[in-house]
């Protein structure tokens, strides 16, 4: 019953997120509303961590597999990529390192300046 109950709680938040996504016309995915609602519920102790702990760790652990079917869809859009694959690879590689370096340097400056104070 424990697992059924935890799954029920999580599905309830998924449904609430879906409803908000339907009625609020903002470019925010349903899952984001769900995260915000569940976080709030945990903060104000309407939901306790133990009410969702087992099923949520299971879901987080299997999450990568859930992306497999949409990712395999790349074979369908291959025509679009094949002509500028080099540019696409360049964008992915360059932006990853720019973001990593910039974030690291900025955070380090902030942390060291605060420590000096």
């Amino acid at each position: 019953m424990k697992y059924l109950f935890q799954f029920l709680v999580i599905l309830a938040f998924a449904f609430a997120g879906e409803l908000l996504h339907h009625f609020i016309h903002l470019p925010i995915p349903a899952s984001i509303y769900g995260i915000a609602l569940l976080f709030l519920a945990l903060e104000i102790r309407v939901v306790k961590v133990k009410d969702v702990a087992d099923v949520s760790s299971f879901f987080i652990a299997i999450m990568p597999v859930l992306f497999l079917p949409p990712a395999v869809g790349i074979m369908e859009s291959w025509g679009l990529i094949s002509e500028n694959w080099l540019a696409i690879v360049a964008v992915i590689v360059i932006s990853t390192f720019v973001v990593m370096g910039f974030t690291g340097l900025v955070s380090q400056v902030v942390i060291r300046r605060r420590r000096k104070k």
Binding site: G17, G34, L66, P70
Partner: protein
């Protein structure tokens, strides 16, 4: 045989789980960072479908059963966020400045590179959420009309790059504050990078996993400012 596989309800899920399992096994046996189970299984499933001539649509009919769980699974990210909220409050300024600069630099960098390479709107918005966790990135990609499958692959490759090269790259830039390292890895390479951050140290890991959710949420808020510039 092909007809049996195409009409089976279980085959799509079976193929997905088996390929992923093989990916996990390969990762364990070799210990190589670029042997990312998701990346390996994407290649295996695609190769299998191409070789057998089974169409993506018939694979997807079965495998979509797994994707159904995506939204509930994403919502579960609220639990680690709640558990790490204390760390967030303690290092509020660093986390805020780090994640905001991470998200803004990512969005600006993608915009700039898309202009340089002459991408159209569809390709541009596909890459816009590439540094954040797949669960949230897929939603952003869909909202602005990007190609979800390409978006997922870009996100995974980004994570793998971060996982494999972050340690050496951060050392090269002389970034050695544990908090700064964690924020840098989480903001640029989401969950796949975070696995590496946990190998480097517990503070790096906690900071990195915290930035996954914070950057994901910030990207949802800030992406609309960039999405219509191209």
């Amino acid at each position: 045989m092909k007809e049996v596989l195409e009409s089976s309800i279980y085959f799509g899920v079976l193929l997905s789980l088996a390929s992923y399992g093989l990916g996990v096994l390969l990762r364990k046996k070799t210990g190589w960072g670029f042997m990312n189970p998701l990346l390996v299984s994407i290649i295996l499933v695609t190769a299998f479908l191409v070789c057998t001539g089974i169409s993506y649509d018939s694979y997807k009919r079965g495998a979509d059963l797994i994707s159904y769980l995506l939204t509930p699974a994403t919502i579960c990210l609220a639990v680690p966020l709640y558990e790490q909220f204390e760390i967030l409050k303690k290092n509020f300024t660093a986390v805020l400045v780090g994640t905001v600069s991470g998200v803004l630099s990512s969005l600006a960098c993608i915009l700039l590179l898309s202009i340089v390479f002459g991408f159209d709107h569809t390709t541009f918005v596909t890459f816009l959420p590439k540094s954040i966790t797949t669960a949230i990135g897929v939603g952003v990609c869909e909202e602005y009309g990007g190609i979800v499958s390409l978006g997922v692959v870009a996100i995974v490759i980004t994570g793998v790059l971060g996982n494999v090269f972050s340690e050496a790259f951060l050392k090269l830039l002389k970034i050695d504050e544990p908090i700064a390292k964690g924020l840098a890895i989480g903001s640029s390479a989401h969950a796949v990078g975070t696995a590496k951050a946990f190998e480097i140290g517990p503070v790096e890991g906690a900071m990195s996993s915290l930035s996954i959710v914070v950057c994901g949420l910030l990207t949802v808020l800030l992406a609309p400012l960039f999405a219509f510039l191209l």
